[in-house]
């Protein structure tokens, strides 16, 4: 028999909240975000959740779906429902604001801590920097550049859970793309920011981030790159600025 109704358990309230069950009609090509939107529009307008683009670009719709973090706008119910049931909760490893909304401040603050900002070295009076598309550095940066900041990797990472200071896969991936940017002038300080027990050396290479990243990036690989890059600190005894 075809299942034409989904049983959906949705997290309600803050950290001390609980799951509430809703029945949602099953549709063709239905996404998890469609399900949440249906509940908010038809069943309970007080449900809080976050989304913007609905097409996998903005990174705001990530939630925990049947136990794993996912971008909900591009996750089809077909792929994740088990026996017609869905369990939807806010992203893990972040404080809950309310219902399905997680507080992403710490997640983004860590990008800044990992020196995820571009440090310019030229002015507009200078010539353009020429970066060859086939150069090793450009290819390394390309491999990590498409991150949409959704926080899925961060929610999936066990080390983030164990060590609240750990910068996490997304921030370190960002740092690695900049570490390969020939135009950037903040390399030394960045290397120091990402080394150490809050940084790349804490990664256990478990690859949950890489497994679940919706953009198919490999933060694990970027983090290995950073580890190798920090050899400079050891060999040359470089100090931070």
């Amino acid at each position: 028999m075809e299942v034409n109704e989904l049983r959906v358990n949705v997290w309600r309230g803050g950290a001390d909240g609980r799951f509430q069950q809703f029945a949602v009609p099953r549709r063709a090509s239905q996404t998890v975000l469609d399900v949440v939107t249906y509940i908010q529009r038809r069943l309970d307008p007080t449900l809080a959740y976050r989304f913007a683009c609905r097409v996998g670009m903005c990174g705001s719709c990530a939630m925990t779906v049947n136990g794993a973090p996912r971008w909900t706008c591009r996750t089809h119910v077909d792929r994740v429902a088990r026996d017609g049931a869905l369990e939807i909760a806010p992203l893990a490893n972040m404080p809950v604001v309310r219902d399905l909304v997680a507080d992403m401040r710490e997640f983004f603050d860590k990008w800044a801590k990992a020196r995820g900002q571009f440090t310019p070295t030229r002015t507009r009076a200078d010539e353009f920097a020429v970066v060859k598309p086939a150069s090793r550095q450009r290819m390394e940066a390309d491999a990590g550049i498409e991150c949409i900041g959704c926080g899925v990797c961060y929610a999936a990472c066990d080390v983030v859970k164990w060590n609240r200071d750990y910068l996490g896969p997304a921030a370190l991936n960002r740092a690695w793309t900049l570490a390969n940017d020939a135009r950037d002038g903040g390399q030394k300080a960045r290397l120091h920011a990402v080394a150490g027990d809050a940084g790349c050396h804490s990664c256990h290479t478990t690859m949950s981030c890489t497994e679940l990243c919706p953009k198919k990036l490999s933060p694990t690989r970027s983090i290995s790159g950073l580890k190798r890059a920090t050899l400079a600190i050891v060999l040359r005894g470089e100090d931070g600025e």
Binding site: V159, W162, N163, L191, H192, A193, A195, G196, D197, G199, H201, K227, T230, L231, I233, V234, G237, D239, G240
Partner: protein, 113 residues
């Protein structure tokens, strides 16, 4: 400084892992070779006594195991037991010196002429 220290420990951890891969392989082959036709203390000692090559090999093995194991314990203590870094560092040095000391004693016992 934390960054450099952690980076150093990471290098030692990597390097000792590589050494261990080599040492464990040699060790396993030696075991298979040594037990063919029965294992006796006399036979083992006849091979190792006064043999400088075996002494160097096992000293290296002990050194790599002590370094690798103790750095690993430090991480486990911090991540799973929530120990402060300074306490975990003490554990690391304690484990490293204990393992190195016991290992050195064992090496000396089998190679001493």
């Amino acid at each position: 400084m934390s960054a450099r220290r952690e980076a150093r420990l990471w290098v030692v951890q990597r390097a000792s892992a590589a050494l261990l891969a080599f040492c464990v392989a040699v060790h396993l082959v030696t075991i298979v070779y040594a037990v063919r036709g029965g294992l006796s203390a006399a036979e083992v000692l006849s091979r190792t006594r006064g043999n400088f090559a075996w002494m160097a090999f096992y000293a290296l093995f002990v050194f790599a195991a002590a370094a690798h194991g103790s750095i690993g314990l430090r991480t486990v203590a911090m991540e799973w037991l929530g120990w402060k870094k300074s306490t975990a560092d003490l554990l690391m040095w304690f484990a490293a010196s204990g393992l190195a000391g016991l290992g050195a004693q064992a090496v000396y016992a089998v190679v001493r002429p």
